[in-house]
């Protein structure tokens, strides 16, 4: 899939296409097998069953889907274009604020979604203009700073009537229009066959949100699949591999980077909207660490792949629960309390991020040749 391969002869290209398609099939099959195995294991009595059940629960929760969408955006930034966006949580927050504030103030849902997109669009423009002509780490520093400025501003006590300040906006203020769209019956609990997952069909934290969230993930993945195969997608990879070469071909590198930043940012905003649907809009939930989680998920799954972000997000959440559950179950209870096992799981996540980058920079399904670039 890399540039050089695009230039090779037809049969080689077919071969490469077939390998990457096989890889995709293996990864998708592996993921399905993983979920099925969790569902089966959750019936085992004792702590094994409990761990499997909670892993399955977080694997399909709406927040996982939300992170996946944001990571798909980050993949356009980093995986395809090589932009070091350290402020994806800022894009998510803008989407979420736009959506929740507009509906809270009595606007229809479509206005809310558009408001979120518009905010992310303007944010991307503002960030891109001063930094996209500079070396990559400037973008990193500016995006992380700007995302933090947004969070500080959202938390301002003076803006309480507009953003809800540090408390944020409760879900009940904006969930209504989305729940009204549901064609599933209200307040009826439903258990997914052969699992222990029981949620209301429509209500708070319901199947409806899960259905829509994962549908959005599928659509976004398909969109990126088409983008990556298009001439524009090749241009993105060209910018990533060798900016000067693309410039010498007469392309406007700055414009290409800006387009990538905006499109990835819009995915971030969409992810933010999904992120707050089952819970509430809290600015502190979308701080730096959320950006870092998105990066971990992206690198875990594999940057510059279509399926990597989805795989990475699901694994990111379920591996953490797995680690926490295992430590809880295996260690004698006096050694660590529940909080400490949770923190222990996070420590492992941090170490995992380092190890992935060092030993398997292509992630689970990536192609190592795609990640030779240096920003």
């Amino acid at each position: 899939m890399s540039l050089t391969e695009d230039l090779t002869t037809g049969s080689d290209k077919e071969q490469a296409d077939r390998t990457s398609r096989n890889k995709l099939l293996y990864a998708a099959g592996g993921l399905v097998a993983f979920l099925v195995a969790l569902a089966l294991l959750s019936h085992v009595p004792g702590s094994t069953g409990q761990i499997a059940a909670s892993m399955l629960r977080v694997a399909i929760q709406p927040q996982t889907a939300a992170l996946a969408v944001a990571v798909i955006g980050l993949n356009i930034h980093f995986g395809y274009t090589g932009l070091l966006n350290m402020g994806q949580a800022g894009f998510m927050m803008l989407g979420a604020y736009g959506f929740s504030i507009a509906i809270w103030k009595g606007q229809p849902m479509i206005v809310g979604i558009l408001a979120g997109f518009a905010a992310a669009f303007v944010f991307a423009l503002l960030l891109g203009i001063p930094t996209l002509k500079l070396r990559g780490d400037y973008l990193a520093i500016v995006t992380i700073s700007a995302a933090e400025i947004l969070r500080y501003t959202g938390r301002l006590a003076k803006l309480e009537n507009f953003t809800g300040a540090a408390q944020g906006i409760p879900g009940s203020q904006y969930r209504g229009p989305f729940a009204d769209l549901s064609f599933l019956p209200q307040d009826t609990n439903w258990t997914f066959p052969f699992t222990k997952l029981t949620y209301p069909l429509t209500g708070t934290d319901d199947w409806w949100t899960r259905l829509v969230a994962w549908l959005v993930v599928a659509l976004c993945s398909y969109f990126v699949f088409l983008l990556a195969r298009s001439p524009w997608g090749r241009l993105l990879r060209g910018v990533r591999e060798d900016e000067d070469a693309i410039r010498s071909l007469g392309k406007n590198v700055f414009a290409v980077k800006m387009q990538a930043l905006i499109i990835g940012g819009l995915f971030g905003a969409l992810g933010g909207i999904i992120f707050i649907l089952p819970s509430s809009m809290q600015p502190d939930a979308m701080g730096r660490n959320l950006t870092f989680f998105a990066w971990t998920a992206l690198l875990l799954g594999g940057a510059a792949t279509v399926f990597g972000p989805v795989l990475g997000s699901i694994l990111f959440f379920s591996v953490r629960i797995f680690l926490q559950g295992i430590t809880d179950a295996v260690l004698p209870s006096g050694l660590m309390n529940t909080q400490q096992t949770e923190q222990f799981a996070w420590i492992c996540i941090g170490v995992m991020l380092m190890l992935i980058v060092i030993f398997r920079p292509q992630g689970l399904v990536g192609d190592k040749r795609e990640l030779r670039f240096n920003v």
Binding site: I144, A146, F292
Partner: protein, 441 residues
């Protein structure tokens, strides 16, 4: 190789010795101050079976003696305490939970107005000291602090913060200059200074005199260790800078949760003390403030001197300029980078120790993370990779942060204002204040 190694060793030891000697002397001065303060406050000592609620009631004109504080809390605690002549009160409690302290207005002089007379605090477990703060003002308080006075006082606080930021950002800048790495885990090195201070001074009771040098040695060791086991092997492997930056993010996450693992969400203090504010004209300060600032100035000057005048410093600047050329002229680049890591982490540790002593009066697991962006702003503002630029950048950022509330912006935005200035500057002068005008990117 051997002879060069010897040439190398001499200045390094000399600098390090001078460095620690200065710290030692200054720490000695610092250690005297809290000892004097704590002499009259030893009314309650926390132990495994009890926690202490202790504080000083004061207004802007001084401490208030004879004020009454009513404490209610779990286990039927309902006591009224009277402050002593130093304005202090303390209570030993044996149960965890929420305590409410109310300042009895009738016990105060009529010229005083209470701005915050009721404090609710949580005692999470035993062996803790909690210090509630009441707000009391003299009637003519607002009249005495004019705008210019606030401005001067804000500038003083800005200088104090700027100097401490400079300590940490010089290290960050040196690392960037010599290796090209934006180290996101530098903030955790700052936190580490406060954490180690808490461990050595507060928990092990070593005293600041012994504890502070130990903190610096331990912090420096983490730098050596990191470079030895992580960064040098990665450089050898030729891992890209973007990937290395993500490794620092992983390290940052790991360390944050390691701190949380040990101390949870609480704020740990290096020293439990309540320095008496002095005032010089409009400036209000405490002795620890002055000591911290003096230490920073001395250490920063030492680093500056080392960079400009010593062989090691010249070698460091040569590596910053052009590693390949430096290597070709016989400089052992790896050794320079190793030294830079040691110095950078030591400086960050010192910064964290002082930060937790005088600015935040304690350290939380995410305290470093809160100032990381200020550090990056300082470094970028001054010009990525230039140590003196980092100093100037840090002073500017410190001033901006402390002056923003004075100039009328909401206090919550004081960190945001520094970042905004960074973004604006990048639009007009992307290479930073002291950076060379060259094409970056």
């Amino acid at each position: 190789m051997e002879s060069r190694a010897v040439v190398w060793q001499a200045p390094v030891t000399k600098i390090l010795a001078a460095f620690f000697l200065t710290i030692l002397t200054l720490a000695a001065v610092a250690a005297v101050q809290p000892a004097r303060a704590s002499a009259s406050a030893s009314l309650c000592l926390p132990s495994a079976n009890n926690s202490c609620i202790t504080s000083t009631v004061r207004s802007d004109s001084g401490v208030i003696a004879g004020a009454e504080v009513r404490v209610t809390g779990p286990g039927g605690v309902d006591e009224t305490l009277t402050t002593d002549e130093a304005g202090k009160f303390s209570l030993s409690v044996t149960e965890t939970g929420e305590y409410t302290l109310v300042l009895v207005p009738e016990s105060l002089d009529e010229s005083l107005t209470v701005t915050n007379g009721s404090v609710t605090l949580n005692v999470p477990r035993m062996n803790r000291v909690r210090a509630p703060v009441f707000g009391v003002r003299t009637a003519d308080y607002s009249a005495t602090t004019s705008f210019s006075d606030q401005l001067i006082n804000g500038a003083f606080s800005g200088l104090r913060l700027g100097l401490l930021l400079a300590l940490a950002s010089i290290g960050l800048s040196l690392i960037y200059g010599t290796t090209g790495l934006s180290n996101f885990a530098h903030a955790e090195q700052v936190t580490l200074g406060g954490m180690l201070g808490y461990l050595f001074v507060n928990q092990w009771g070593l005293g600041l005199l012994v504890g502070a040098p130990l903190v610096l040695i331990a912090a420096g060791f983490t730098g050596w260790f990191q470079d030895r086991v992580l960064w040098m092997p990665l450089r050898r492997r030729g891992l890209g800078l973007a990937q290395m930056m993500i490794v620092t993010i992983g390290l940052s996450l790991t360390l944050q949760y390691v701190y949380q693992f040990f101390i949870g969400a609480s704020t740990v203090k290096v020293l439990v003390f309540n320095p008496t504010p002095q005032s010089l004209g409009p400036i209000s300060y405490t002795y620890p403030d002055l000591i911290a600032m003096a230490v920073s100035v001395v250490v920063i000057s030492l680093v500056g001197y080392a960079l400009l005048r010593t062989r090691v410093g010249r070698a460091t600047r040569a590596v910053s300029d052009n590693p390949a050329l430096a290597s070709a002229s016989g400089i052992d680049v790896d050794r320079v980078i190793r030294l830079v890591w040691i110095v950078a982490t030591t400086l960050a540790g010192l910064s964290g120790l002082l930060y937790s002593l005088v600015i935040q009066r304690g350290m939380r697991w995410d305290s470093g993370m809160q100032i990381l962006l200020l550090l990056f702003a300082a470094v970028t503002l001054g010009g990525l990779g230039t140590a003196f630029g980092a100093l100037i950048g840090a002073l500017i950022i410190g001033m901006v942060v402390e002056l923003t509330p004075v100039l009328g912006a909401p206090g919550d935005l004081k960190y945001a204002s520094a970042l905004l200035i960074l973004i604006l500057l990048l639009m007009v002068r992307p290479q930073g204040l002291l950076g060379r005008a060259e094409r970056v990117g």
